[in-house]
Structure formats: C-alpha cells, structure tokens
C-alpha cells in the first residue's frame, strides 16, 4: 500500500513540476507548484512525520502559494515574455540536466544497499519537534530569526517607494 502511494505521489509530483516548467501561463504555473508541494506533504506523511506533512501543506501550499497567485492576479501579466533562447542552448541545458539526474541516481544507488534506517527515530510529532528545536537545535533555530529579519528588511528595501528627490 505504502509503495503504491509513494509511486502515485511521485509520479504526480514529477508531472506537476514538469507542467510548471512547461506551461506559459503564470496562474497554471502557480497551481502546478501547489500540486507539487501537496505531493511533498504526502511524502512526509508516508515517512511517519504527520506534523511536517501538515506544515508543508499549510505553509507552502497554503500561505505562500496564495500569495503568489494574488501577486500574479494583481500585476496581471498575461503571457510570459517570449523566450528568445536559442534552440541549441535549450537542448544543451536539457542534456546537462539529464546528466546531473543520472549522476544523482548513481550516487543514491551506491548508498541503497547499505542505508540503514537510523538517525533520530521519531521526529514527526509536534512534541518531538518542539523538544529538538529547543534543545539540540536551539542555536540554528535562533539563527533563523536573524535570517527572517534580513529577508524582511531586504525585501522591503528593494520594493518600497523611493524618497522624493
């Protein structure tokens, strides 16, 4: 059952990411991305991490994507800019991507046989996550707050209206 679900989710996920890349309509792009994120949430659920699964869907598929779609609606771009990419660079890029993909597969393959299920056993529940965040990962957790400040300030600086000269 789990295997079946995994492959189903995987296929949907990959397909939606491809759809996102190929489609030229921004609204579709965003919706495909939502779908991909939702599938990712599914993976987490399959891995016994219900909390992360839920958070993944709420934050990415919910909050961030809604924001995206609003932005797209507001600035109202109909068509993306026509890509003036030369044909050969496209194929070239495709080739490189395939090679990278193969390389990553090979990497993983080498590890399949000896991968143990190890590490921290239970990380899925909110209690566990909370405990880890405030004990072992307290420092990185605090640093993210600095990161968020930096991102906020940066974003605001770049988009706010200029002072009148």
């Amino acid at each position: 059952m789990a295997h079946f679900l995994f492959f189903l989710l995987a296929i949907v996920c990959i397909a939606s990411v491809l759809g996102m890349i190929i489609s030229k309509n921004q609204a579709y792009n965003a919706l495909f991305l939502v779908l991909a994120f939702a599938c990712m949430g599914g993976f987490f659920a399959l891995l016994d991490a219900p909390f992360i699964a839920v958070v993944q869907i709420i934050i990415y598929a919910g909050a961030i994507m809604i924001l995206f779609i609003f932005v797209i609606m507001m600035i109202n771009l109909r068509e993306g800019l026509p890509p003036e990419r030369k044909k050969w660079t496209l194929y070239f890029a495709l080739g490189i991507a395939v090679v990278l993909f193969v390389e990553l597969i090979l990497t993983m393959k080498s590890a399949f046989s000896s991968l143990k299920s190890g590490g921290i056993e239970k990380i899925g529940s909110p209690t566990d996550i909370g405990r880890l965040l405030f004990t072992e990962y307290l420092y990185p957790f605090e640093i993210t707050s600095i990161l968020i400040i930096a991102a906020l300030v940066g974003a605001i600086v770049l988009v706010k209206k200029r002072d009148k000269e």
Partner: protein, 477 residues
Amino acid sequence: MNSFSALIPLLIIVFASLCIMILEAFLKKENKDYLAYISIIFLVVCGFFLVRAWNKDFSYFNGNLFLDNLSLFFSFIFLITTFLVILISMKYISLQGVNCGEYYSLLLLALSGMLIMVSSGDLLVIFLGLEVLSISSYSLAGLRRKDEKSSEAAIKYFLLGCFASAFLVYGIALLYGATYSTDIASIINHFQSGESLGLMALIGLGMFVIGFGFKIAVVPFHMWTPDVYEGAPTPITAFFSVGPKAVGFAVLLRVLYPYLKNVQDSSKAIFLLLCIISVLTMVVGNLIALRQTNLKRILAYSSIAHAGYLLIAILAQDNASLVFYLTVYIFMNIGAFAAVIALGKKDKEYLELEDYAGIGFKYPWIGATFSVFLLSLAGFPPTGGFLAKFYVFSAAVRQDLVPLVIIGVLASLISVFYYLRIIVYMYMKEPSYEVDINIDNPGLFLVLFLCLYGVLQLGIFPGNVLILIKQAVTALL
C-alpha cells in the same frame, strides 16, 4: 569552556542592526551620518569582546557555537572589513542617493552572518549563517535604486545564489545521509573510518565545495561576479570582494584541511579537482581582466584570480599562509576600491580607465595610495601582497605542487599587466577631459591611510600578525 560570553559578539551585532533600523525613523535626514557612527561604536564594543575572548575557547549551545582562536581572528578581520566599508560608504551614500538606515543595518546583518559561519563546526549552522549573509547581500546589491544595473545585479545575485545554495544544502543532506551527522569533526571521523557509503559522502562533500565555490567565486562558478560587482554600490562591491570570499575560505579551511590531511585515499579526487579549479580560476580570471576597461570589472576579475591563489594555500595545507593572505587581501582590496570610490561626485562615479588619465598628478594622495594597492595586488615587494604570495607559493613548493606554483607565477605575471596599466593611465596619460571629484571625504581618506598602513605593515613588519595567525590556526590541529 561553556559560557554565555561566546554569544555576546553576535548579539551585539544583531542588536546594533536593529538599533540602527529603529533610530533611522527618529533621525533627521541631515543627521543620518550618526547611524554610521553608532554602527562603528557597536563594532568597537564587539571588537573589545572578541579581543577579551582570545585564548579562552568559549563555547555555547552544546558546542554548536564556539569561539576558538581561529574564529576570533576571522571575526576580528570581518569587523575591520565592515568598519572600513562603513567609512567608505558615509559620503558615497549621500552622493549616490542610497538610503542609509537599511544600508548599515543590512551590512551589520551580513556581518552577523559571517560571524555565525566562522564560529561553528556544524554544517547546518554554517548554512544558516551563509543564508543570513547571502540574503543581506542580495538586498545590498540592489540598493542603488536609481541605477538599473544595481537591480539587475541584485536579481542575478539572488537567482544564482539560490542555485548555489541548493547545491550546498543537497550536499549537506547527502553528508548527513551518509554519516548521520552535520558536525564537521564527526563527518571527518566517518571518512577516516572508511565505512561504506563513502561515495555518497564524497558526492555530498563535492556539492558542498561547489556551493562554496560560488561564494568564493572560483571558475566555473564565478560567472555572477563581474556583473554583480559592477552593478552593486561600490562600497558594497568592496565588501563583497572581501567579506563573503574570506568567510567562504574560512569555512573551506575548517572542512577541507582536516579532510585533506587525515583522509588519505579518497581525498585525492577532491584534491585534484581543487587543483584544476585553482588553475582555471587563476588563468581565466587574469586573462579576462586584461580585456576590461571598467575599474570595477577589472577588480572583480582580479578578485576571482586571487581566489585561485588562495586555493593553492588550501591545497598546500598551509593554514597560516592562507589566513595571512586573506588578511592582506582585505586591506589591499578595500584600499583599491576606496581609491575608486574617491573618484566620484554627486550622482556620478568615474569608473572607466580613461577617467584615470592624469589622476596621479592631479590627486597625488589618491594616485599614490591606489598605486601601492595595485602593486600589492600584483605582488610587488615590499607590500603585503608580495609576502602573501610568497608564503603561499613557497608553502606549495614544500608540498611538491610545483606545476601549480608555476602556473600561479605565470598568472600573476599576466596580472601585473592590467594592474600596471591603471598606474600607467594615472601617471603617464594626458587627460583628455576634466575629471573633478568631491574630495571632502574624510572617512574615505582615513580608509586609504589605514589600508596603506595595513598593506605596508604586513609587508614589512609581518611578525606580530604572523604570531597571532600561528596561534589562531593551532585551533585546527
């Protein structure tokens, strides 16, 4: 020693950044220079705490954060970098119409990112620190909003930076998958014990190096550098060319030094790849620099080339020479950029080579100091640049990396050409048009003086600094 003291320097910088943001709202426009002074005061306080922590080995958060001597030395260098950048920015901001509140606070946030990175041995923390630095940098690059190039720089930096971060984080994930740890020491242990999963860990490390290769701008991960350097506000370019690069090397040093030293067989591949990258970087950086006529782009490619020399130091496993090179590099590069910034007035920067004709006689102090910095970048004695290159190359010779050294020396011979060309323009060309600049810029002249002092001090009396550096790098052994 587990102590809260380890956290204090970082807290001060973050606090300073927040203070600046709040204060900006209350300050009148003509008093905005106070923000720079306040930042400097905080930097000095932070520096005081860093100095006090020397040899104390403070750590906190179960060792996630530690202040060994190496972290302290690097942190201190970064403080100096930020201090110099703030000084060269003060006038620039008002002349080029950049909003200053966010400017200083983003700069300080970037500094905090660098402090986080050098004072941890945990890849997760290092990654987060890198993101703090990067995100602040992306916005800093776009701050000159009157200029489209600046926005272009920001978006390019952002997109490619994300790209590199993806590699970095994937690499960390692979390392974690292979070793169940994000701690550098235990990852190296794992490598040493030679358990299975070696390949996965190796690829993880490779991707980690790729991600950092972007930050330190080595070929072929350097493409963003000239465009971003050209578009960003010039003091920020100065910051980019030294800060992220130095911190990138600091982290690579922490990871690669024990790896190359302790892991004999599998490290050969990484070693060879780094050799290739180093050669490519030196050659490509210097060759393209020959073609440039824009000062910022010349210095951008020169900074790429210097990353190549610095990689030699990593390969030679001579930590002291790497740290020394970085120290010298900070002074000479910021000095050179300061001289470039000096040639500007209201809403106008002089950045083309042609603009520099006859500057040496018209503004002797700028011309003379700029020449010294360029000579130092080219590696002439008795400047610090000479000694730095000398230490790196002689360390490489001791490690039997003679081909690398030969290429390095040839590459620096090429570099002499474009550095000297600037000097030739300054002293031997007749100016064809008037270049008038705003010379009422005490902060900048202070920087010129300090950098000149630094370059000469490190070139002629390097003894004391070398002793400190030797103490600092013992933390790695």
